[in-house]
Symmetry: C2
């Protein structure tokens, strides 16, 4: 029986999950695939601390497997596959490159290191003949990487839209269901370990933006770098916004959206209202879902756990078996450079509908004035809702516009007469 | 540039779709993958008829490509990839075997030929070193084959549940939305070309059962043959059943269900009520969806077009690019024989809840008598609904049971006192 020796860079939550799956499934995988997968080295920051955490979690990685020297993993002669679970760009990316340069196949769940160092990592893998796999880097167990690289390789994908960050989806779901404000739900999520002590990467949309840059690159067969992704987080979303949207039949989600029309490409992550019967409206809590549209495939929706030690481990171990069987990984067929694809015309003037919430003085002529400003910028109003007079004597006005260019919308909002109304919120709406 | 020559067995609807995709995307695929895909021979039943049909559809396959001799496709020295779109078991299976024996890679969308001849076809592929791909054989563009073969290879899948026949889903969706009876909707579907003149393969569940035998084999890593699948169609479903289910919060679907618990395996296709907020309840019309549960991956839902020339072509062309790039196909890791997996204990005594509709005489004691019979067979009633007295003076009684063994349920139903009630319908309920 062929033995395949594996090393881990990082032994935390996901490393523990992969260890557990490989321990429990080792005999079964021997039977299924004729490969004996053995984990021999696990890089940790601090061995004593790692032993304590693993003991508490019931993860039985022997002390002899633990090391604080990454070269014990990346340069060990017997290790053939290196799995990276450190997170963050560095030193993860340079350790992976070192492993590839030493002929190891590399499997990563790290969207940041991949998104920012994809070209170098792929070049190192191609040069050494080792493999590079990253199914778990986007959407956890959702099989979106293999679907874009293989199933849809000959299709012409023009839209990818997804909920690809579990933390923000958990927060927005609870805000929606419980009518609570952002700060309160965030604190509770932090207490439950569902949001980081520093939640910026999730709540400000960076995590989604890294993932979207990977998905858009694969979907459109050209490099879409992280810097191209327009990004807005959920930190200024209020319970009032969500309630007003619900009154009009909408549910709020942090969506990652990539569209391509001819050579015009737009990539954006922002809070988005979708109709309450939209497939993505029902993707709640820590679920992730990704919707793909192509010229030939029509619509495909993929849904599953976007995080969690075992679902992520399932995706990683699928890659491990591929690597152990020496299946040639499919690399993106576009020229994977550090620059954006030259042939794409990146646009930040996308067409969307918008939800606009204004606080306005309650007197005749106000609505007419607002409508006139909108009209002058060619932003057309589809529906309008006036809420009861507030204690301060002002009214809430909520508009949903027809699709309009982003820049027209911004111009219209900037030109509103401050003496009669103030902009409380603008949230884009996707059909 | 590497040229890859392709032959088609069958030039109908799907063949036309693949021809169109490859024509429109040929230059793009050259750029993406460095392969020039050229279709050189297309086997048709009758050249004159094929020319006429293609002309009507705008499919420009030149007359010189058409042949009525299958060996022009399966034995042509220049053809490397043979795509089979004939449908039906024979002669499709023997033509595919002939192509594999002549060293061609074979790609098929034909679940019948595959389900019934999988072992022989795989053996022929492995012997000659050619490849065998069949992503489009189940669920059209839904990437379920690759997900089971690769992404979930190291997981322990215990449940697959899906809507994998578009025709029956279309019929049931219209019966549900319009309150019409089966015969009327079937006739309309036939008129629209959405059901075959002889609809048996779809409406009696054979199509779903072939597909389920493929999915269950892959999911459980052992051979589950077509003959093992318990199969009930939708031909005796009435508008009344659907309406009564709706009254109790359920939606009717033809589900294909495979479950594994230890070595106990159950595979069944039958009309099934699911709660109206169940993810599969909203999969309407010709959409397909497949739900997978595993020990590590948790829940994955895949949704997309299960049929149609272009979505199916998208899936097939993904396989074609793999074959053209000489990517080694992943074969199932179980021993693919013509027999069922010996280690599986196939069970037909599954536990399900059931929807039972009775017509009963309207007098005291009837309900008590029915409840007593049920209780004696250990079938416990969860909810009950009595509908108004009918013109014949009888009442409709509808029960939803708690989960009970199938055989207990059948015994209970067979023991009901015919002088007081008659069984109108029994439909299983899945959570």
């Amino acid at each position: 029986m062929k033995k395949t020796v594996i090393g881990f860079l990082g032994g935390g939550n996901i490393g523990g999950g992969v260890w557990r799956l490989l321990s429990e499934m080792r005999e079964e995988i021997k039977k299924r695939d004729g490969v004996d997968l053995e984990v021999r080295k696990v890089l940790v920051k601090d061995i004593a601390e790692a032993l304590e955490i693993n003991a508490a979690k019931g993860i039985d990685i022997p002390v002899g497997c633990l090391t604080q020297d990454y070269t014990d993993v990346t340069r060990d002669d017997e290790i053939q596959i290196v799995c990276e679970f450190m997170g963050g760009e560095q030193p993860a990316a340079s350790y992976m490159e070192d492993a590839l340069n030493h002929g190891k196949s590399v499997i990563t769940a790290n969207k940041v290191a991949l998104a920012l160092n994809w070209a170098q990592l792929q070049a190192a893998a191609e040069k050494s003949g080792a493999g590079l796999w990253y199914e778990a880097s986007v959407g956890g167990v959702i099989p979106v990487i293999r679907v874009l690289l293989q199933n849809l390789e000959s299709d012409s994908v023009d839209r990818v839209m997804g909920i690809i960050n579990g933390t923000t989806n958990y927060i927005l779901t609870r805000m929606t269901n419980e009518g609570k404000d952002y700060d309160e739900v965030l604190r509770d999520a932090q207490r439950l370990g569902l949001a980081e002590p520093n939640p910026a990467a999730d709540v400000e949309g960076m995590d989604s933006a890294y993932k979207l840059s990977i998905l858009a690159s694969l979907a459109f067969h050209g490099r879409v770098t992280y810097g191209r992704v327009h990004r807005e987080g959920i930190t200024n979303i209020t319970a009032t916004d969500i309630a007003c949207g619900a009154d009009m039949g909408y549910v709020l989600k942090l969506l990652a959206i990539a569209k391509k029309d001819g050579n015009k490409v737009e990539v954006r992550v922002h809070p988005t209202f979708v109709k309450k019967d939209h497939p993505l409206a029902k993707v709640d809590g820590s679920l992730n879902a990704i919707f793909i549209h192509g010229k030939y495939c029509n619509d495909i929706t993929l849904q599953g756990r976007g995080a969690g030690d075992l679902p992520t481990a399932s995706a990683i171990c699928g890659d491990i078996v591929d690597a152990a069987l020496c299946v040639k990984p499919r690399y993106p067929s576009f020229k994977n450079t550090v620059e954006d694809e030259a042939s794409f015309a990146f646009s930040d003037n996308w067409n969307t509908r918008a939800f606009i919430r204004l606080s306005a003085v309650d007197r005749p002529g106000v609505l007419a004035s607002i409508a006139k400003t909108m009209m002058e910028e060619e932003v057309s109003i589809a529906t309008m809702l006036q809420k009861d007079v507030q204690p301060d004597g002002r009214v809430q006005l909520i508009f949903i516009t027809h699709p309009a260019p982003e820049q027209s919308l911004r111009r219209a909002l900037s030109r509103l007469d401050a003496s009669i109304c103030s902009l409380e919120q603008m949230i884009r709406v996707e059909d």
